[in-house]
Symmetry: C2
Subunit: 345 residues, 2 copies
């Protein structure tokens, strides 16, 4: 899922995303859109799909991750989390119930429960208490969601989030407790918080046998191109990550031959497309030399073309993985991409 933090995937039109890239679902950030322009305004304008003119599915996070990473002074208690807006310092409160309401105001297709996302590292004891609160919040959010949807039915799903820091026992305990909610899907959170990469994979592995196979599993905030197949191999169906878009803007481009750092002098007079095997608009129309020129000149078109390509690369990898699974060749696919990971990382 491409990340559309502020109801826009930075640099791309909704037309490019839906029609050219074939994006079926994107992620938007509850925290950002709650603060600006506000969920009531978005509701009044017909919901997030209509507001941003997006024809396909939208998943919104609960805002928890941003509260913990972006906002100033914050206070967590059993009730929820009190935080200061990073925009103007205003004080706000998120509760398990209120974040469901905010996301229903958006009209999100997939809503996430409010969770506490601990930083890394934390003690086992802190992680345990925090995980238990996340489970209690998930129950409250789920109950509130079911009563809201019963009142005014719509086609929404609410995913609870498995936490437990990097402790496999807590991850397993959390996943088991969340099973009771019989949710439409399950998310695995608390990843990409600064932990070494093998630990992220272990945290996902821990709950592989517990989460129901028939429900989608969403690993939040991952990963590098070479890691996508690794997560899928551990049962993950959905991922979101700012890497393809953020790295694009910073000059890091992902290709089928590995990473291209576009500012490097070697691309100055390189007439080849960024990735000769890629069929995206950028690779069909422009050379590395032109992309480098745009990057060096700080041009907006650089961000547009680079994001376009990097998203295509991620989506192509996921398409390859899907084809491999369908044709029964995923184990071979995984073997085949694993050695390449070293270069492509």
């Amino acid at each position: 899922m491409p990340v559309g933090t502020q109801a826009t995937v930075k640099g791309l039109t909704q037309q490019a995303l839906a029609e050219d890239l074939g994006v079926a679902i994107l992620l938007a950030n509850t925290y950002h859109l709650y603060l600006r322009p506000g969920h009531e305004l978005i509701r009044q304008l017909g919901g997030l799909h209509r507001f941003m003119s997006w024809p396909n599915a939208i998943l919104t996070d609960s805002g928890g991750f941003q509260v913990f990473s972006l906002s100033g002074l914050r206070k967590v208690d059993e009730h929820g989390v009190i935080f200061q807006s990073h925009l103007n310092g205003d004080q706000h409160t998120f509760t398990p119930e209120s974040t469901v309401d905010v996301q229903l105001a958006f009209g999100s297709d997939i809503l996430m429960v409010l969770d506490e996302c601990p930083e890394y590292p934390v003690s086992h004891e802190y992680a345990r208490q925090s995980m238990h609160r996340t489970v209690r919040w998930a129950r409250q959010a789920n109950q509130h969601f079911r009563s809201r949807v019963a009142e005014s039915p719509g086609c929404h799903a609410l995913f609870p989030i498995v936490q437990g820091s990097m402790f496999p026992d807590l991850r397993r305990e959390c996943a088991s407790a969340l099973l009771d909610l019989d949710s439409d899907g399950y998310a695995i959170g608390g990843l990409s918080v600064g932990e070494p990469r093998p630990l992220s994979l272990e945290a996902v592995e821990a709950t592989e046998g517990i989460l129901p196979r028939s429900k989608p599993r969403y690993a939040m905030g991952v990963g590098m191109p070479a890691e996508l197949a690794e997560y899928v191999a551990r049962g993950v169906d959905m991922m979101d990550c700012v890497l393809p878009s953020r790295n694009a803007r910073n000059g890091y481009l992902f290709t089928s031959e590995g990473r291209v750092i576009i500012k490097h002098n070697r691309y100055k007079d390189d007439p080849r497309p960024l990735d000769e095997r890629c069929r995206c608009y950028t690779c069909s129309s422009y050379s590395r030399a032109y992309l480098r020129h745009l990057f060096q000149s700080g041009e907006i078109l650089y961000a547009v073309l680079a994001t376009w390509h990097n998203l295509r690369r991620y989506l192509d990898i996921m398409r390859e993985i899907r084809h491999a699974i369908i044709s029964g060749s995923f184990p071979e696919y995984l073997k085949c991409v694993r050695p390449a990971s070293e270069d492509a990382g």
Copy 2:
């Protein structure tokens, strides 16, 4: 002509420009592209059309205007102009001959001669001397251009530039002198240098009866939407201006009902398209409320959508003018848009 300073119209893909907006010709800046990435590199990569993947015509200015407005220490003498790069302080020289060579390396369809573009105001005496130098440079450039094209023929045109500050007698003298060159077209330069608007129109009027009717006339660096018909009424066929694109990025949007300053609070919950009569991608897909949200959030997509619309608005005005001329109703059209100018300015 949209302005593509660094071989890109800021924020728009070449596909959007050529296919969606129907841009038949755009302007690129010799000064900028000479400094970065350099004309030899562009030649080596197949010329500017291929470098930037642009299927239609390109006009390049001579660099004179930027040398006078952007570069540090500069020295003009009969030979040409010595200047320091605004990027790194390196010293460079432009001569009437060298700027032709640079633009031929680009493969520009329309080249401009090196001129001196005096600031405003200047004395009649300074303007006279400067204008005479511009005429001498135009002769040199023209001679060099003809011999270069005779060596390796291609489909290029070189336009000399009428100068003379805001003095009608100097403007007329300059235009008469340039007639000898029998050029494919004539530009009127030295406008938009800080002079009151009526003086720009007078400067154009001064040469209306002198420049050949059968050749295109290009007023450089103008104008506001309401002025376009005024220039056409004074015999102008071509114009370029950064206003539609620069103003777009700064939040000033031109509509058929006048100007919209998108940050204004009144657009916060405005579900209407920016311009209900406009058929551009932006107006077909997005609301004022969404555009305002993108602007307030500093999002790249704002620049993309705003530029898309403003360029469409300019091109629509020029299309209206062409239709009015062809149908013989231009005088009525002019009367009709004149009162509106007050609001739309």
